[in-house]
C-alpha cells in the first residue's frame, strides 16, 4: 500500500506536517521559561479556539481590529474601535484579565508598565479585556473565525457565480459547458440533488429546499477544508457558526412544516390514549429541539476535535522537551509528525463526511416536516393485493431465504 504512494507525494505530506509543527511553536519559546501549562493553555487551546489575531507564526502575527459597543461611566452608549488588542489596551480605559488562574477571577492588569510587560509576553492574545470604567455591552470585534468564515463565503460565491454565468452564457449552445473544474463541481451539485435532497424530501418538494442544502453543503465543505490549510482556521470549529446554521435548518422546519406535522407534534400520534399523548407530546417537542442542537454540536465537535488532536500530537513534542529533555523530544518528533499526517488525511475525509452528514440530516428533518400523510390513499392501495398474491409473495420470500441459507454451505 505504502509502496504505491509516490515518493513526491510522501514528501509533500511530510512538508505539510512539518509546516504545521512550525506554526505550533510555543509562544514563549524565545525568552521565557516554557511550562506545561503555557503549552496547553496558549499553544494547544489557543490555536484551536477563536482569537483576535491571525497567526503566521514563523513570519508574523497580525492582530485584528477590535470594535466594542460600550456604556461609559456616565451612561452613554458609544461604539469604540481600535486597530488591535494592543492598541485597545494602550490607549483605552481597559484592563487585561489573563485566564487560567486558580480562582478564576484575577484582578485585571491596568498599570501601564505591567501592561507593557504583559504585551511583550503576548499575554494579551490569550487573555480577555475588561473596561475599567463603565461596561462593555456587546463585542463586535473581528475574530479569526469571522475572517475565515467570510473567506469561505467569498470562495463559494466566486466559484458558483462563475459556474452559473457559464451556463447562462452558453444557454443557446447545444452542448453543456465543459472543463475539469466545471464538471467536478457539477458532480458535487448533482450528488447533493440526487443523493441528499431527492430521497429525503418527499412529494417533489425537494426543489424548494435544494438551494439551502447546496449552500449549506458547500459552505461547510469549504470552511472545513480551509481548516486544513496551514495558518488558516476552520470557521466551522466555532459553536456560534454551526449554531446559526442549525437555527437556519430549525427555522425552515418550523416555517415549512405541514399541518399534519404540527398536528402530530402538538397532539401526539393519532388513535393513541390521552395519557400516552400527555407523555409523548413534551418528549416530541424536546426531541425536536435536541435534534437541531445535536446538529450544531456534532459539526462543531468534529472540527474542534480534529484540530485539538493535531495540536495535542504536536504539543507532545514540546511537553517531552519539558519533561524528559531534548533527546526524547527529537525522537517524539518523528512519531508525532507521522501521526499528524495520518490525522490530517483523516480530517480531509471528515471534512467531506461532516458536510454530507449536516446536509443529509437537514434534508431528513425538513423532509419529515413537509411530508403530508395520505392515510386514505395508503389504506385503499393495500387490499388490492389480495390474499393469494400475498401468500405467493411470502412463499417466494421464504424460498429466496432458503436458497440464501443453503448456498454458502454448498459453495
Amino acid at each position: 500500500m505504502i509502496g504505491r504512494i509516490r515518493p513526491l507525494r510522501l514528501v509533500a505530506l511530510v512538508v505539510l506536517g512539518v509546516s504545521l509543527a512550525l506554526s505550533a511553536t510555543p509562544v514563549e519559546a524565545a525568552d521565557e521559561e516554557v511550562t506545561l501549562e503555557s503549552i496547553v493553555n496558549n499553544t494547544i487551546i489557543g490555536h484551536a479556539e477563536d482569537g483576535y489575531y491571525l497567526n503566521f507564526k514563523p513570519f508574523a502575527q497580525v492582530e485584528l481590529p477590535r470594535i466594542l459597543l460600550v456604556r461609559t461611566a456616565d451612561g452613554a452608549l458609544t461604539l469604540e474601535a481600535y486597530g488591535s488588542t494592543k492598541g485597545l489596551l494602550q490607549n483605552g480605559p481597559y484592563g487585561l484579565v489573563h485566564g487560567g488562574d486558580e480562582e478564576g477571577h484575577a484582578a485585571p492588569i491596568t498599570a501601564s508598565e505591567d501592561l507593557a510587560e504583559a504585551i511583550a509576553a503576548k499575554e494579551h492574545l490569550h487573555g480577555s479585556v475588561v473596561r475599567t470604567s463603565g461596561q462593555v455591552v456587546a463585542d463586535f470585534s473581528i475574530s479569526r473565525h469571522l475572517i475565515f468564515g467570510l473567506l469561505a463565503m467569498l470562495i463559494v460565491l466566486g466559484i458558483f457565480i462563475a459556474l452559473a454565468q457559464r451556463y447562462k452564457k452558453e444557454h443557446d449552445r447545444p452542448e453543456a459547458p465543459q472543463g475539469v473544474f466545471q464538471n467536478m463541481m457539477e458532480v458535487l451539485v448533482v450528488f447533493v440533488r440526487d443523493e441528499i435532497a431527492k430521497p429525503n424530501i418527499p412529494d417533489g418538494k425537494w426543489a424548494t429546499f435544494l438551494p439551502y442544502l447546496l449552500t449549506a453543503f458547500f459552505f461547510i465543505l469549504v470552511a472545513n477544508i480551509l481548516g486544513l490549510v496551514p495558518f488558516a482556521g476552520a470557521a466551522t470549529s466555532n459553536i456560534a457558526v454551526t449554531g446559526v446554521m442549525a437555527i437556519m435548518t430549525f427555522g425552515i422546519v418550523l416555517l415549512y412544516g405541514s399541518s399534519d406535522y404540527y398536528k402530530e407534534l402538538l397532539t401526539g400520534p393519532p388513535d393513541a390514549p390521552v395519557l400516552i399523548r400527555i407523555i409523548l407530546v413534551p418528549i416530541e417537542i424536546i426531541g425536536l429541539v435536541m435534534r437541531h442542537l445535536a446538529l450544531a454540536i456534532r459539526l462543531f465537535a468534529n472540527m474542534m476535535g480534529g484540530s485539538l488532536i493535531i495540536f495535542s500530537l504536536l504539543g507532545l513534542v514540546f511537553m517531552m522537551n519539558v519533561i524528559m529533555g531534548e533527546a526524547a523530544a527529537w525522537s517524539t518528533t518523528v512519531i508525532s509528525i507521522g501521526f499528524t499526517v495520518f490525522i490530517l488525511l483523516l480530517k480531509l475525509l471528515v471534512a467531506f463526511i461532516q458536510a454530507y452528514v449536516f446536509t443529509i440530516l437537514s434534508a431528513l428533518f425538513i423532509g419529515m416536516a413537509v411530508e403530508e400523510h395520505h392515510p386514505d390513499g395508503e389504506e385503499a392501495a393495500e387490499p388490492d393485493v389480495g390474499l393469494d398474491g400475498r401468500v405467493e409473495d411470502r412463499l417466494d420470500a421464504v424460498e429466496d431465504k432458503m436458497e440464501d441459507r443453503v448456498q454458502p454451505t454448498t459453495a
Partner: protein, 76 residues
C-alpha cells in the same frame, strides 16, 4: 480530596468510557452493514450512505461526552 484533581480524573475516565461506547456502536454498525453488503451486493451503495449517516449520529453522542470532558478540564 482536591476538587480539581477529581475533575481531571472524571474527565479522563469520561473520555475513556465514551470512547468505549462509541467503539461498540461503530463496531456493531460496521459489522452489520458489511453483513448486509455481503448478502446483497446490489444494495451496497444504499447501505454505505446509511452507514455514514448512522456513524455520524453515533459519533455525535461520543463527541457530546468529549465536550463535557473538555469543559471539566478547562473550567475547573
Amino acid at each position: 480530596m482536591d476538587p480539581a484533581a477529581l475533575a481531571y480524573l472524571a474527565a479522563g475516565l469520561g473520555a475513556g468510557i465514551s470512547a468505549v461506547g462509541a467503539a461498540i456502536g461503530i463496531g456493531r454498525l460496521a459489522s452489520s452493514s458489511m453483513d448486509g453488503a455481503a448478502r446483497q451486493p446490489e444494495a451496497a451503495g444504499d447501505i454505505r450512505g446509511l452507514m455514514i449517516v448512522s456513524a455520524g449520529l453515533i459519533e455525535g453522542v461520543a463527541l457530546f461526552a468529549l465536550i463535557i470532558c473538555l469543559l471539566l478540564v478547562l473550567f475547573v
